[in-house]
């Protein structure tokens, strides 16, 4: 871990934290967003911490489990971190589906927050 670039370390810790919260207590995800954060969830836009948490909390399943297949992180020229996650998820007893998620992380007063978040299921022959 020590010899990994810092953005890799921050990005992967964020990813681990995010999905752990999502799978166990997704109503607490508000802690990682700020009032100017944007979420695009399956093409639908949400702006601000409150709207984002409401959307995620209201998703109609009881249990969800994410499994990360791969994650990539990059430093941006303005000091942020861009992360892309590819994985699979299982909601309640439904079949397993693939998904992609992209995060932009920004350091604001010594804390990393998520300013941008985009989520898509990886389904191809469905509308």
């Amino acid at each position: 871990m020590g010899d990994k670039p810092i953005w890799e370390q921050i990005g992967s810790s964020f990813v681990q934290h995010y999905y752990q919260l999502f799978d166990n207590n997704r109503c607490h995800l508000g802690a990682i967003y700020i009032d100017s954060s944007c979420l695009t969830w399956e093409g639908q836009q949400f702006h601000g911490k409150e709207a984002i948490v409401e959307k995620i909390t209201m998703l109609p399943f009881q249990k969800i489990q994410h499994s990360i297949t791969s994650q990539d992180h990059q430093p941006t020229t303005d000091g942020c971190i861009l992360s892309m996650v590819v994985g699979q998820l299982k909601a309640d007893d439904d079949q397993i589906m693939g998904f992609h998620q992209v995060f932009l992380l920004k350091n604001i007063s010594d804390a990393w927050v998520c300013t941008n978040d985009m989520f898509r299921l990886a389904l191809h022959n469905f509308g």
Binding site: W41, E42, G43, Q44, L59, P60, F61, A91, D92, D93, D94, Q95, I96, M97, G98, L121, A122, L123, H124, N125, F126, G127
Partner: protein, 222 residues
């Protein structure tokens, strides 16, 4: 998998709440088996079957058989993440609407599924067959046959009690739906055409823009 020789390609969608047995139902229909641990291949979630359709003319004579390539589509559960949109219903010509006879809520949600269909399908009165699934679990049944029949009657659709486990009525329901679709396609002039309840039915080709064209490619002329 199949050669390209068929008269019509017909796409059906299986709808209904999560857990009512849509995947097992389709598996039973296409493969004649019940598989409680159906493993899906993400991205190609439909099953296919070839059938021959013979229409019964008014004189009772059967016409030449039409070779039908049936595609049966299932949802992958994406309705939990987003609402199903017009794109999902695109090109579907008939709908198998399933509920679970042992789950009251799945029966109550049939009304919501029908409203969704009325909004998103190719026309306001698409062809639907209602299936009360899991009829093999008679001791756990909570939805009475009479209640389900009344609901189906209210919407003017056919109702079957089915079992993906033992196969009861599984083919029967699909055949009924196919029959409705083929009859709809045989009616080219919607405006002059009235169904039994007096509502005008749009023909397949005159549905809303982008509505199902019979995906038939008459590759082989007879």
């Amino acid at each position: 998998m199949f050669d390209g020789d068929y008269d019509y390609l017909i796409k059906f969608l299986a709808l209904g709440d999560s857990g009512v047995g849509k995947t097992s139902y389709l598996y039973q229909y296409t493969d004649g088996k019940f598989n409680s641990k159906f493993i899906t291949t993400v991205g190609i979630d439909f099953r296919e079957k070839r059938v021959v359709y013979r229409s019964n003319g008014p004189d009772g004579a059967t016409g030449r058989g039409q070779r039908i390539h049936l595609q049966l589509w299932d949802t992958a559960g994406q309705e939990r993440f987003r609402s199903l949109t017009t794109a999902f219903f695109r090109d579907a010509m008939g709908f198998l609407l399933l509920f679970d006879l042992t789950n009251e809520q799945s029966f109550l949600n049939v009304r919501n599924w029908i409203s969704q269909l009325q909004i998103h399908a190719y026309c306001e009165n698409p062809d639907i067959v209602l299936c009360g699934n899991k009829s093999d679990l008679e001791d756990q049944r909570v939805v009475k046959e009479e209640e389900a029949k009344q609901l189906a009657e209210k919407y003017g659709i056919a109702y079957y009690e089915t079992s993906a486990v033992d196969g009861t009525n599984v083919s029967k329901a699909v055949e009924t739906l196919l029959d409705l679709i083929m009859k709809r396609m045989e009616r080219p002039f919607a405006s002059a055409d009235q169904n039994a309840t007096g509502t005008s039915r749009r023909s397949v080709t005159q549905g809303r823009s982008g509505g199902p064209r019979p995906l038939g490619r008459r590759r082989v002329k007879s």
